[in-house]
Amino acid sequence: MLVAIVIIILVVASLVFHFASPWWFTPLASNWSSIDDTINITFWVTGIVFVLVNCFLAYAVFRYRFNKNKRADYEPENKKLETWLTLITTIGVAAMLAPGLFVWGQFVNVPEDADVFEAVGQQWHWSYRLPGQDGVLGQTAVELISEKNPFGINPEDANGLDDILIFSNEMHVPIDQPVKVLMRSKDVLHNFAVPQFRVKMDLVPGLVSYLWFTPTKLGRYEILCEELCGMAHYTMRGHIVVETRENYNLWLAKQTTFAQTLQPPEYDLVKGKALFAACSACHGSEGEGNEAMNAPQLASQPAWYMKRQLKYYQQGVRGSHKNDQYGQQMAAMSATLADDKAIDDVLAYIATLEGQAEKAGTGGDLAKGKVLYRNCSYCHGNNGEGKFALNAPKLTSLQPWYLKRQLTNYQQSIRGAHPKDLYGSQMILMSRLLQNEQALDDVVAYIRSLAPGGALTSKLPGKGHALQPVKVSAGE
């Protein structure tokens, strides 16, 4: 009796939950309404079966509850009934399967007029490549990947020279244009998934997979990696911006081709030195930083990281938060660098500076810090040396007070929350692993101990790092 009632209640509750639930598919933003239709058909068929079977179950349990004056029926089988049930089930299954296979046929066959771009996955970032003028993507090989050639494109292949490289986890596509996404992974399995587009596919090292869709709604959508790809899997996010053809063309015009990235960078140390005069007021003449001025050490930090940060300051991506007062100062200062050329010059000069090892340690527990630092070490390296391949800056050259302030800023989303901050959201998620001030102190103390002249001079055993950031050599 009670069991029957509860089953009815559960059926009703499931239905109520289903219809009242605010948790449902995100609004569709692509052509794949047919997938949604198939889901709806499946819902109706399975929903009806669910309600019927369980209501019948509840009724049977209620109607034939124990009665000592009755006996059960004796019915080994009923061919007619079983045949009918088989038939009806088969029809129901076919009703779901047929549209499913039909839509899958559409998914497998990419339209002729589809644009192509390549999504490249790596632990734990996205980058993209467009075929350029010739419409053909150049050959790639894992062996060719280096700091100079992060996509591993074959420089000998003429098709590759005009490929447009997007060094960012944000991709743009024009609206209402079918697009085929070719997918390639540099290291492990990943998955390219945009819930609003409904389609997803794994990225597999060693082969190229694909999917296609036609974006139908303007907007900026999140790309999630949905295949477990290691410790920081949950931080592997990207964005895809669907925009009008005009905006798309504007965006496209600003991107660099592979051939352009092959040009040796040019810089002028003399100009760089002159520009650095403005920086040295706070950061010191040797780029050693100054706690009184809240300025971190610049020397020995790789140029690619500082360039990204300078651009962020200039574009208001960093230092625009109202609670980031030191960042605001820096944002103002960064305006003194007129263009990319000026940035390159000053960074080339900074690369020549020696800096000064900060001796001061902090009062943290090194053993605890070491445990906490494991989470940092995947990207920043076992010795805090930073890794270009993972877009992770060097930590050991930074002063403890600066590290702590930045971690706190990330935790409070003062830094990294700007939509244009490519890797900030990752640091926001990771910084939250440090759940109290003591943990911050411990991990900072441990990072300091890794620095030359830090509390611990012996380095931890660790494997070599093939893609160590290369110091910029003197100008040519």
Binding site: N54, F66, V204, L207, E222, E227, G230, A232, L433
Partner: protein
């Protein structure tokens, strides 16, 4: 070939064990081995239950527990999954219940190879110990997900990529050896040691389920062994079976040309039959529990057997439905979606037949019956959501989300566990001679049944929303509303409650062992052979001097013209005639006319 005495004709000449040690520890008695298997499996299952609790704490209340970092979280997920699927469910259903029930239900004295059977248990125990050892090596257990997909499984960036993964693969290999030893025993016993008169079609469905599941296991586990061997070599020696040329955290490695998708094919060639290795024994046992407690024959016995065989066969050609978005040739999708949805037909028929068994029954709402009905509900739910994932395009938005997690927990976690509880409450009186406490059992049922539904129903909706599985934390994600976190917290609370409630069950099992109401030889008035032993619990050799002889099928409940509402399988017709002296009670819903014995002809 010299003549050979069939087992059913042999007299009991097996040596009876003497000392405590040979009787309870180093025992070759299938019943003792079954209990050893069960206790080990439940013990390691409790570890996995605690791991799931920790994992849920992180998901429900992120940024709260400082001891759970992403690496630890992934390790919890992985070990929870692997332990539950292999070391708990497979071991408990086949090593535990299979071992206990096969000889008793087919009317044999023991397994045909008792020594091998004992070896199987000790090897299994070794596998469990090796697995647990991985918690104590540097880097901890593997955190690659229970699917262990290369390349990430053996690369830095994944927790436990050194000692953890090697111990995991070693433990799996040892488990497979243990399972093969046990499985050969189960199959041979069923084929060669049945009592006189026990034709295949007279076997209870429990035996059918275990039989087919064992064959599936024997043929599917080699795929896991192959992949484990090749992955260990990739890790330790540097071969490139599954490893293509790749970078790892920016470093270039020496691998060339391997195929990660190949591993997935192998894994799921094992992994999908594994679902049915767990499900088929559960299907069988729940059929027997339903028939016994509804006092009615199982409806459509032949259809049930055919369905078990068909599901077993089909389960080998559906594996790639786990790989629709794996980057394999997308044209495979057509084939595997079709086979997958075909398998739904025999499965649905089984559900219908269970419900139709209750129809016109006389349902005793005992604790085993409650769990069995709970199973029908959860299995219907889980089976139907399987139709979403099996249908290739519907899988596109749902794969790798919480919908998948909710689906397989419903169909492969909650449902078999419902049956396991039904089976424990049902067979405990035979195993120990005492009933489990009914009041505690009912409390256990309600909390478990309602609690698990409160966990998994909402979880499907997180999946619809697009929340990916195996995420340590969602963090700020634009398309996920804050309310999803509320839902997550509620799921966690339900999960903790369900986890804690299992203490009631454990208390009940221990308490009833000493204080439970005494049960006779056949407390449920059941027909199958295991209830017809002369002593309870059955002694060594099960049957005393003479083996039972079987005269009828396993479901002679409420046979028209017979006063008693059940006829044991080993009761000859001559004795049944005596039972038929008095007229029948009214049947079913009072409208079915009395029938004459034999009620053989089907009514179509």
């Amino acid at each position: 070939m010299t003549s050979y005495t069939a087992i059913a004709d042999q007299v009991d000449d097996s040596p009876h064990p003497g000392s405590f040690f040979t009787k309870y520890i180093w025992s070759q008695d299938h019943k003792v081995i079954a209990i050893q298997y069960s206790i080990t499996a439940i013990g390691v299952g409790l570890v996995a239950l605690v791991l799931s609790g920790l994992m849920r704490l992180q998901l429900g209340f992120p940024d709260t527990f400082s001891f759970i970092d992403p690496a630890a979280y992934l390790q919890f997920v992985t070990m929870h999954g692997m332990i539950m699927v292999i070391y708990l469910l497979t071991a408990l259903l086949l090593g535990g219940f299979g071992n206990y029930l096969i000889p008793l239900m087919v009317g044999a004295r023991d397994m045909v190879f008792p020594f091998l059977n004992m070896l199987s248990y000790w090897t299994y125990l070794l596998a469990v110990l090796v697995l647990l050892a991985s918690f104590f090596v540097t880097g901890g257990p593997t955190g690659a997900g229970w699917t262990l997909y290369p390349p990430q499984t053996i690369l830095p960036g994944t927790p436990g990529n050194d000692g953890g993964i090697i111990l995991m693969l070693a433990s799996l290999a040892i488990f497979i050896i243990a399972f093969t030893m046990g499985g050969l025993n189960y199959v041979t016993t069923i084929l060669q040691a049945r009592a006189k008169g026990m034709t295949l079609m007279r076997m209870p469905l429990t035996i059918w389920g275990i039989f087919i599941a064992t064959i599936l296991g024997l043929l599917a586990f080699p795929a896991l062994l192959v992949s484990a061997i090749m992955m260990v070599l990739d890790k330790v020696i540097g071969t490139s079976f599954f490893m293509p040329a790749l970078l790892s955290l920016g470093e270039s490695l020496d691998y060339t040309g391997g195929s990660p998708v190949l591993f997935q094919h192998l894994f799921w060639f094992f992994g999908h039959p594994e679902v049915y290795i767990v499900a088929l024994p559960a299907f069988g046992m729940v059929s027997d529990v339903l028939a016994t407690h509804a006092r009615k024959n199982i409806f459509g016995y032949r259809m049930m057997v055919w369905a078990i065989v068909a599901i077993g066969g089909l389960s080998f050609i559906v594996w790639a439905h786990h790989m629709y978005v794996s980057g394999m040739n997308p044209y495979f999708g057509f084939f595997f979606a079709t086979t997958t949805l075909i398998i739904a037909v025999p499965t649905a028929l089984k559900v219908y037949n269970w419900v139709l068994t209750l129809w016109r029954g006389n349902i005793h709402m005992t604790v085993p019956m409650m769990f069995a009905i709970g199973f029908i509900f959860t299995f219907t739910h889980g089976g139907l959501t399987g139709l979403f994932l099996g249908n290739v395009v519907v899988d596109l938005p749902l794969s790798d989300t919480y919908f998948v997690v909710a689906h397989f927990h419903m169909v492969m976690g909650v449902s078999p566990i419902m049956v396991l509880f039904a089976a424990i409450y049902h067979w405990y009186p035979k195993i120990t001679g005492r009933f489990l406490h009914t009041g505690l059992g009912k409390a256990h049922f309600w909390f478990t049944f309602l609690g698990t539904y409160a966990i998994y129903l909402p979880m499907h909706y997180l999946g619809f929303l697009g929340v990916p599985r195996r995420y340590f934390a969602m963090g700020p994600t634009e398309f996920i509303p804050d309310s999803a976190q509320v839902l997550n917290a509620n799921i966690t609370i339900s999960a903790i409650i369900v986890g804690v409630v299992q203490l009631i069950f454990i208390y009940n099992v221990i308490w009833s062992l000493f204080k439970g109401k005494k049960a006779g030889d056949n407390p449920w008035d059941a027909t199958t052979l295991e209830w017809q032993t002369q002593t309870t619990p059955p002694g060594h050799g099960n049957w005393g001097k003479n083996l039972p002889v079987v005269y009828r099928w396993a479901y002679d409940y409420s046979v028209p013209g017979v006063k008693a509402d059940f006829i044991p399988q080993n009761m000859p017709d001559s004795e049944v005639e005596k039972l038929a002296a008095e007229p029948d009670l009214p049947r079913g819903d009072n409208v079915v006319p009395l029938k004459e014995k034999p009620a053989g002809e089907d009514k179509s």
